[in-house]
């Protein structure tokens, strides 16, 4: 190859407080090429993105853009050379309109002191047309759905004549269908000569759009090759250095008395005539598109959403759930979809996050707490769930996504529940942690816990669950046994 690549990194190293985040990383991205940057949490991906965005400066090595060599970029040069980053949280302004959000960077770059409304609107309109998206320009971004917010973020990146768009975990919050339209947009960008650096945990998507995969592990490039030379197994191995076997849940006693029986559950407008049962040790999957009622069902079972009709029985006894307190008392645990906002006290310590669910069991006379007992038990759970926590007193937010999810699980398991409802248990965690979490689910099943898994990730459901319920418009549309279905079949059933 004699052609100059759009971006080339040469032996880039960076360390933070003695920890080597990047160690001599070199690779290149050609114009119009889609490159996937794959790696587990903590492998150095985020640091690499920040160096390209000019937010962090490398300790040694350099970055070349179109042959021009920079020892360090700053955000302005980076943007001026056509590098745009779409952060995982999109970094939009919820209080401003779609048009303003899209045109803001361009307005900043224009150097004008006054707002040129017509120009901003025209720019926003033309960019949205370029990616064939129709979102009303005057809508406030806070009122948009997640997928639309992402489109606005992409449009904003393109408004400044981007040559390289870096997308950090772009598909985490999207449903299957939204992912497909995002991939279509990425193909369109490539055709227009825009390079894309795609950072994703979801292996299947990587193969759909990327020509080249760069895998980094512990801050170093471990492989850099055309996507065709990888398959899902070899990629997973490169990322983690471990081999994985798809975990299929161990068989359970199908003749046992059901631990949970749901009969004719209904709630006006969202749930209709939901009936199913769950036996001890059974892992039941619930699949459905966004708005199918899958999350509502989970919330109803946990007492978060009142129901109008139907009964819920636990071990044969009818259960009246007035709120989550009743559910916890009865032995139902719920791990919410958004663990960051609903499931964890982010600024509190790891131990406290586990201990919070056990305060009752460890309270002594006069409301005193048996602190050392609590700590011992919390530590015990950290070990059992293999939480990689260097300091159990560090805040939970310092952990990676996979480890955070384990902390949430540890909290529930410490309470010795009968049923555990997991909503999107592996959203935003890397493949290594994902496999571990699947292993934990299998362990739970072996300990005769009833487990309900709600997920967008169909291979995950097939791998972990004994049975899968497909929800549509608030009803259970179909039921399949995991061993007898494939991802393709399941996708078709969901979409039909």
């Amino acid at each position: 190859m004699t052609e100059t690549p759009f971006v080339r990194l040469d032996a880039v190293s960076k360390s933070f407080a003695g920890v080597q985040a990047l160690n001599g990383v070199s690779f290149s991205i050609a114009a119009g090429q889609a490159v996937c940057l794959a790696g587990e949490n903590g492998s150095g991906k985020s640091t690499l993105i920040k160096i390209l965005a000019g937010v962090e400066k490398p300790d040694s090595g350099h970055v070349a853009i179109n042959g021009e060599i920079f020892n360090a970029l700053n955000p302005r040069t980076s943007v001026a050379r056509g590098i745009q980053v779409i952060f995982q949280d999109f970094s939009l302004f919820p209080n401003l309109t779609v048009a303003e959000n899209i045109a803001f960077s361009a307005e900043l770059a224009s150097g004008d002191k006054l707002v040129k409304r017509a120009r901003a609107r025209a720019l926003a309109q033309s960019v949205l047309e370029r990616i064939a998206v129709d979102i009303p320009l005057d809508t406030r971004v806070e009122t948009l759905a997640v997928a639309d917010k992402q489109l606005v973020a992409i449009a904003r990146a393109l408004a400044l004549d981007a040559r390289l768009v870096i997308m950090d975990e772009p598909t985490t919050a999207l449903t299957e269908r939204e992912v497909q339209s995002l991939l279509a947009i990425i193909r369109r960008l490539k055709a227009a000569g825009v390079a894309v650096l795609f950072v994703s945990h979801k292996l299947a998507e990587i193969f759909e759009v990327c020509e080249k995969i760069v895998v980094i592990r512990n801050g170093a490039v471990v492989s850099d090759a055309p996507a065709a030379e990888f398959d899902i197994d070899s990629l997973a191995y490169q990322m983690t250095g471990r081999h994985f076997t798809g975990s299929v849940a161990a068989p359970f006693d199908a003749a046992a008395q059901p631990v949970l029986e749901v009969d004719g559950l209904g709630r006006d407008g969202t749930l209709h005539d939901i009936s199913f049962s769950l036996r001890p040790g059974e892992v039941l999957g619930i699949a459905g598109l966004l708005g199918s009622g899958r999350t509502e069902l989970a919330k109803a079972l946990f007492g978060l959403l009142p129901v109008d009709r139907g009964t819920i029985r636990l071990d044969g006894r009818p259960l009246a759930l007035r709120g989550p307190v009743d559910a916890v008392e009865a032995g139902i645990g719920y791990v919410p979809e958004d663990r960051l906002t609903e499931g964890l006290f982010l600024t509190q310590s790891i131990l406290r996050n586990i201990a919070i669910g056990r305060l009752d069991a460890f309270s002594r006379s006069l409301g005193r707490l048996d602190r050392s007992g609590l700590r011992a038990e919390a530590r015990d759970w950290l070990g059992r769930l293999k939480v990689a926590a260097p300091d159990p007193d560090a805040p939970v937010k310092s952990l990676s996504g996979g480890n955070q999810q384990r902390v949430v699980l540890a909290r529930w398991l410490a309470g010795n529940p009968r049923i555990l409802i997991l909503n999107g248990p592996t959203v935003g965690v890397d493949i290594g942690s994902k496999t571990d979490i699947h292993g934990i689910i299998a362990d739970l099943s072996a300990e005769k816990l009833g487990v309900i898994v709600i997920s967008d990730d169909l291979p995950e459901l097939i791998a972990c669950c004994h049975r899968i319920l497909i929800m549509k418009a608030g009803r259970i549309a179909q039921e399949t046994v995991s061993g007898e279905t494939s991802e393709r079949e399941l996708t078709m059933k969901l979409a039909s």
């Binding site: 937010v55 955000p75 302005r76 943007v79 980053v85 952060f87 970094s91 939009l92 302004f93 919820p94 209080n95 401003l96 303003e100 803001f104 960077s105 307005e107 900043l108 004008d112 002191k113 006054l114 707002v115 904003r156």
Partner: protein
């Protein structure tokens, strides 16, 4: 035009109208030009403060030190002009007061933008420190004989008239200052890129930083601007009253913030309009000046203002939540 019941503006407007009707029924003398001009006159100082607070709230911060800054600026200006025996025209006094206000605003900016301290803590600190400094080192004596320039300003009448019953009413030129501040700030917030940056920072400070907005620079501007407006409001207050009382103004800050919040600005930043602020201002000025006409003791004033805040901010939030529930 479709009426949006989830907006604070609609609600506050209706309450203002209802309050006027109610007061007129109880005391028909309320509905007259002298009352109107009285209210307009009374809203000048509070209004300039409110516009400053709006800018801070939109940026996601809060400032409670503006009354202390205003008192400091107006009192030290008056004292300096008197002691030095300088016979400057009114705009000279105004310029000095605005300069002092801006300087004190920059002190806020140093702590907020320079040391990244929370805005409430910083301005609570400067509120107390500036006031203490004023009373200890500058003076605590009332100056009843203000310099001639300031006295002249109070005699500049924009508009005057007489009712059929023979009552005089007038509007001082000072009202033009409020109009200028409102128009200027509207232009700043909605027509300049700096204004949009203020909204952007209020919406998400982290996002603003990531797309390359110089957040610190904008914050320095905001607190200096509020300081300047405070200096202006202070000197107008002293000029109109023809008295510089160092104990004046401080204590007003909560009703000013209340007016702005009633008008729809959110304490979490990113939201707020000039129209809403003016409506909130109208309501607070009405309540503080006319409650007595309804036969309600003035000690009840703060109860009424408190109830209005709870209602005015709680109801739209409740309706928005209901609308969201129905939609979802």
């Amino acid at each position: 035009m479709k009426i949006d019941w989830t907006r604070n503006e609609t609600l506050v407007f209706l309450v203002v109208v209802a309050f006027c009707i109610l007061t007129t029924v109880v005391d028909p003398a309320f509905f007259s030009l002298p009352t109107l001009f009285d209210l307009l006159r009374n809203s000048i100082v509070t209004g300039i403060f409110a516009i400053g607070v709006l800018v801070v709230l939109v940026s996601g911060g809060i400032d409670v030190s503006f009354t202390a800054i205003a008192a400091f600026a107006m009192y030290s200006t008056t004292l300096a002009l008197k002691n030095l025996g300088l016979d400057v025209p009114w705009y000279g006094a105004f310029a000095l007061s605005i300069l002092i206000g801006t300087g004190l605003g920059l002190v806020n900016a140093i702590f907020i933008a320079g040391f990244r301290l929370p805005t409430l803590i910083v301005t609570l600190g400067t509120l107390s420190a500036v006031r203490g400094f004023l009373l200890t080192f500058v003076g605590s004596q009332l100056i009843s004989n203000v310099p001639p320039g300031m006295r002249e300003f109070s005699q500049l009448i924009l508009f005057r008239g007489t009712t059929a019953e023979g009552y005089f009413y007038s509007l001082p030129w000072a009202f033009a200052a409020l109009v200028l501040v409102v128009a200027g700030t509207w232009f700043l917030l909605y027509r300049t890129l700096l204004g949009r940056k203020i909204f952007a920072i209020g919406g998400s400070e982290e996002s603003a930083r990531r797309i390359g907005i110089g957040v610190r620079g904008v914050q320095v501007f905001i607190y200096a601007y509020v300081g300047a407006l405070s200096g202006l409001a202070g000197i107008i207050h002293a000029s109109l009253a023809r008295v510089a009382n160092p104990f004046d103004l401080v204590g007003l800050e909560l009703s000013v913030i209340a007016a702005v919040v009633l008008g729809g600005a959110r304490l979490t930043g990113g939201y707020g309009t000039i129209t809403g602020t003016l409506l909130g201002l109208a309501l607070i000025v009405l309540v503080s000046n006319s409650l007595i006409l309804l036969g309600i003791p003035s000690t009840w004033q703060s109860v009424v203002i408190g109830a209005l805040i709870l209602l005015g901010t709680g109801l739209p939030a409740f309706q928005a939540k209901r609308a969201a529930l129905r939609a979802g």
